[in-house]
C-alpha cells in the first residue's frame, strides 16, 4: 500500500513484469519516426534482457488521429500493460487515453502531447521555449532589427502553434524586427523551398529566417542558394541535411532538436512506473542547442544517421534516471 501511494498516476500496482508495451505510433513511415522507433526497440531489447518487458506491440495509424484512437482501444482490449504514444491530435485521443488510465495501464505520452492530464506522464521538450530561444538567437544574429520570414509547421497542429506562440513575446519585444511573411507547410524540404523561393522574389530584402522545425530550414537554405541570394541567419532543427548545408555554406545558424530518444525514454519511464516507481507527471527535456561551437561533433556522427534523418544527441540510462528524478 505504501508503494501504491507513492506510485505514479494510472498505476494500480496489479501488473507484474514482464510487461507488454504498446507503442501507438501515429505514422511509422517518416524517417524521424523510424529513428524514434529504433531507439524504442533498442530500449525494449535492453529491458527484455532484464526480464522487465516481454513484448512490444506496434501500431501505425498512418497519420490519422481517428485510426490511432481505434488502435489504442484495441490495445486496451488486449490489455497491454503500458501504452506509449505520440498523439496525432492534441485533443482527439483524450478520452480513450483516460479509459486506458482508468484500467491501470501506464500511459506515457511524448513528442506531440495530449491536453488531458489522465496520463502517467508526458515527456517533451518545451515548445514555447523552443520558439523563444530560436527567436532570441535570430534577433541577436540580425542585430535586433531587420526583416524576417517565419516558417511554421502545418496549420491547425498544436506543436507548430505552440512554437510560434513561444516566439511571439521575443518578437514583440523587438519592434524593429518586422515579419515580412509567414508560411505554414508540412515539416519538409520541398514545400519549404517552394514557399521561400516565392517569397524571395516578393521580398528583395530578407535579413533572417525564423524556421520553427523539421526540415524547413534546409528548404530555405536551398532556396537562397538556387536563386543565387546571399544566405542569411537562420534557425532550425537537427536534420542532417540542414546541418550539412550549414557547414557547407558556412551559415550563421542555430538549431535545437526533438531528441529521438524520447521514444526510448518513454519506454523506460513506462516500465519504471509499472514497477511502482514514482514518475513525474511532466518530464521536461532540456533543449539541446547546436551552434557553431558543437556542430562538428554532430556532423562527425552523421554517417550513422539516415541521409534524410536527424542527428540526435547521445543518451544512456543515467540520463534517463536524472530526468526522472527531476521535480
Amino acid at each position: 500500500p505504501s508503494e501504491a501511494a507513492a506510485a505514479a498516476k494510472c498505476i494500480k500496482g496489479d501488473r507484474k513484469p514482464p510487461f507488454t508495451i504498446g507503442w501507438a505510433d501515429i505514422y511509422s513511415v517518416p524517417t524521424w519516426m523510424k529513428e524514434t522507433q529504433g531507439t524504442i526497440e533498442k530500449e525494449v531489447d535492453e529491458l527484455k534482457k532484464q526480464g522487465l518487458v516481454s513484448k512490444l506491440v506496434v501500431t501505425d495509424a498512418q497519420g490519422d488521429a481517428n485510426t490511432q484512437i481505434q488502435q489504442i482501444q484495441s490495445m486496451i482490449d488486449s490489455n497491454v500493460d503500458a501504452i506509449i504514444l505520440i498523439a496525432g491530435s492534441s485533443t482527439a485521443p483524450g478520452r480513450v487515453i483516460a479509459d486506458a488510465c482508468a484500467k491501470g495501464i501506464a500511459v506515457i505520452n511524448f513528442d506531440s502531447l495530449v491536453d488531458t492530464d489522465e496520463v502517467t506522464a508526458k515527456i517533451n521538450t518545451d515548445s514555447a521555449q523552443w520558439g523563444a530561444s530560436a527567436a532570441k538567437f535570430l534577433v541577436d544574429a540580425i542585430g535586433g532589427k531587420g526583416k524576417i520570414l517565419v516558417l511554421n509547421g502545418p496549420a491547425g497542429i498544436s506543436v507548430s502553434d505552440d512554437r510560434r506562440k513561444g516566439a511571439e513575446p521575443v518578437l514583440k519585444a523587438n519592434p524593429n524586427v518586422t515579419i515580412l511573411a509567414e508560411t505554414n507547410t508540412a515539416y519538409n524540404v520541398a514545400p519549404a523551398q517552394e514557399a521561400v523561393t516565392n517569397l524571395l522574389f516578393a521580398h528583395p530584402d530578407i535579413d533572417g529566417i525564423l524556421s520553427l522545425g523539421g526540415a524547413l530550414s534546409a528548404g530555405a537554405v536551398l532556396a537562397f542558394d538556387k536563386q543565387g541570394r546571399a544566405q542569411v541567419p537562420i534557425t532550425g532543427e537537427n536534420a542532417r541535411q540542414f546541418l550539412e548545408l550549414w557547414k557547407a555554406k558556412n551559415l550563421k545558424a542555430w538549431a535545437t532538436m526533438q531528441p529521438n530518444w524520447l521514444g526510448a525514454f518513454a519506454t523506460y519511464a513506462a516500465v519504471q512506473a509499472l514497477s511502482g516507481k514514482d514518475v513525474p507527471a511532466f518530464v521536461k527535456i532540456p533543449l539541446p542547442v547546436i551552434d557553431n561551437s558543437n556542430i562538428d561533433q554532430y556532423l562527425a556522427k552523421a554517417k550513422d544517421f539516415p541521409a534524410d534523418g536527424y542527428i540526435y544527441s547521445p543518451y544512456d540510462q543515467k540520463l534517463f534516471d536524472e530526468l526522472l528524478a527531476q521535480k
Binding site: A155, E194, Q241, G309
Partner: protein, 324 residues
C-alpha cells in the same frame, strides 16, 4: 484536298481554337501572371516566372501519366507513392562504377515503370477498380518505404541528379527541358499514333473498344506503365531539386496531378481531353500556390483564398468551354 473532303473535314476556325480548354487555360495563366505582377512587383520577375515553370515541370511530369490514365477511363492514386519511392530509392541503387548516376536513374525509372505495370495488370486482369488497385498499390509502397527509408546513409548526389536539379542550359532549367521533351513525346503518342487513339477508345467506351478489336488489357497496362514511368521521372527531378529524397516528398503531387489534368479540360470520366491542357493546368496550379504564399493572411484565410481562386478560374475556363 478534294471538295468532298473539305465538307467532311472543315478547317477549324481560329475562334473555335480560342474557346478550347487548353488555350483558354493558357490564357488564364498569362492573365494571372500579369495581374499578379501589378500587385506584387517581384512576382513578374523573369527569374520568378522561370521558377514557376520549373515547379510546373514537377506537377506537369506527374500529370503526363495521370492524363493518359484519366483519358483511358481510370485514375492513378499511386503517383504520390511512386514519386516518393523513386526519390527515396534512387540513392540506394547508386553504384560504384556508375559515375554519372545515369545507370541508377535508369534502374529507378524501370522500377517505377514496373510498379505501373503491376497497377495495369491489376486493373486489366483482376478487374479491380482503378481507384482500389492504385490505392492498394500506394499502401504496398508505404510498406516498402518503411523498409527502404532511413536504412542507408548514402548521400544522394550524383552528377546527373545535380544537373537535373540545378543546371540551366541556355537559361532553361533542366527540369523544364526534360518536361518539354516528355510533353512533345506524350502529345505525339496521344494524338498521332494508333496507340493514342486506343487510349481514347478505351476511356470513352471500353466495351465498344473491345468489340472494335482494341487490345484493352494491353492498352490498360501501357497507360499505367506510362504513369509509373512519369511518376518515377518526377521523383528523380524532385530528388535533384531538393538534394534529398524523403518520405512524403511525393504526397502533394497526387491531388495536384489530378487537378492539373482536370483544370486542363480532360474529362475525369475518361475518353476525352488532351495533355495540351494539363501543361497550362500544371503551371496554373503552382502559380496559384505561389500567389497564396506571398499573401499575408492567417492560414485559414489563405486556404479559403486558394480554394476560391481555383473555383473562380474554373468558372471562367469551364464556362467558356461549354459555350462551344
Amino acid at each position: 484536298m478534294n471538295p468532298g473532303e473539305a465538307v467532311r473535314f472543315p478547317k477549324v476556325r481560329p475562334r473555335a481554337l480560342f474557346a478550347s480548354r487548353p488555350v483558354l487555360t493558357f490564357l488564364i495563366v498569362v492573365a494571372v501572371w500579369i495581374g499578379a505582377s501589378f500587385v506584387k512587383p517581384g512576382f513578374g520577375a523573369f527569374g520568378h516566372l522561370r521558377y514557376l515553370v520549373e515547379l510546373g515541370a514537377v506537377v506537369g511530369l506527374a500529370a503526363i501519366g495521370q492524363t493518359f490514365v484519366v483519358i483511358a477511363g481510370g485514375i492513378d492514386l499511386s503517383v504520390g507513392a511512386i514519386i516518393t519511392v523513386s526519390a527515396v530509392g534512387a540513392p540506394l541503387v547508386a553504384l560504384a562504377f556508375d559515375e554519372s548516376g545515369a545507370f541508377a536513374a535508369l534502374i529507378t525509372l524501370a522500377a517505377a515503370t514496373v510498379i505501373g505495370v503491376l497497377n495495369g495488370l491489376g486493373v486489366a486482369f483482376l478487374r479491380a477498380h482503378p481507384m482500389i488497385m492504385t490505392l492498394a498499390m500506394a499502401t504496398f509502397l508505404q510498406g516498402l518505404l518503411i523498409l527502404l527509408a532511413g536504412g542507408s546513409a548514402i548521400s544522394a548526389q550524383s552528377p546527373l541528379l545535380e544537373w537535373l536539379g540545378s543546371a540551366r542550359p541556355g537559361g532553361v532549367p533542366a527540369g523544364v527541358l526534360v518536361w518539354a521533351i516528355a510533353s512533345v513525346l506524350s502529345l505525339l503518342a496521344l494524338h498521332a499514333t494508333p496507340f493514342g487513339a486506343r487510349v481514347f477508345a478505351l476511356g470513352a467506351n471500353s466495351l465498344a473498344a473491345t468489340l472494335s478489336g482494341v487490345n484493352v488489357p494491353a492498352t490498360t497496362v501501357a497507360v499505367y506503365a506510362i504513369s509509373g514511368l512519369t511518376a518515377g521521372m518526377t521523383g528523380l527531378l524532385l530528388l535533384g531539386m531538393n538534394g534529398q529524397g524523403y518520405v512524403g516528398i511525393g504526397d502533394p503531387y497526387l491531388l495536384s496531378s489530378i487537378a492539373a489534368v482536370v483544370l486542363g479540360g480532360t474529362s475525369i470520366l475518361g475518353g476525352s481531353g488532351t495533355y495540351a491542357g494539363s501543361i497550362p493546368g500544371a503551371v496554373l496550379l503552382v502559380t496559384i500556390t505561389g500567389l497564396i504564399t506571398v499573401v499575408n493572411a492567417s492560414p485559414g484565410w489563405r486556404s479559403i483564398l486558394f480554394g476560391s481562386l481555383i473555383l473562380a478560374l474554373l468558372l471562367i475556363s469551364g464556362r467558356e468551354a461549354r459555350r462551344r
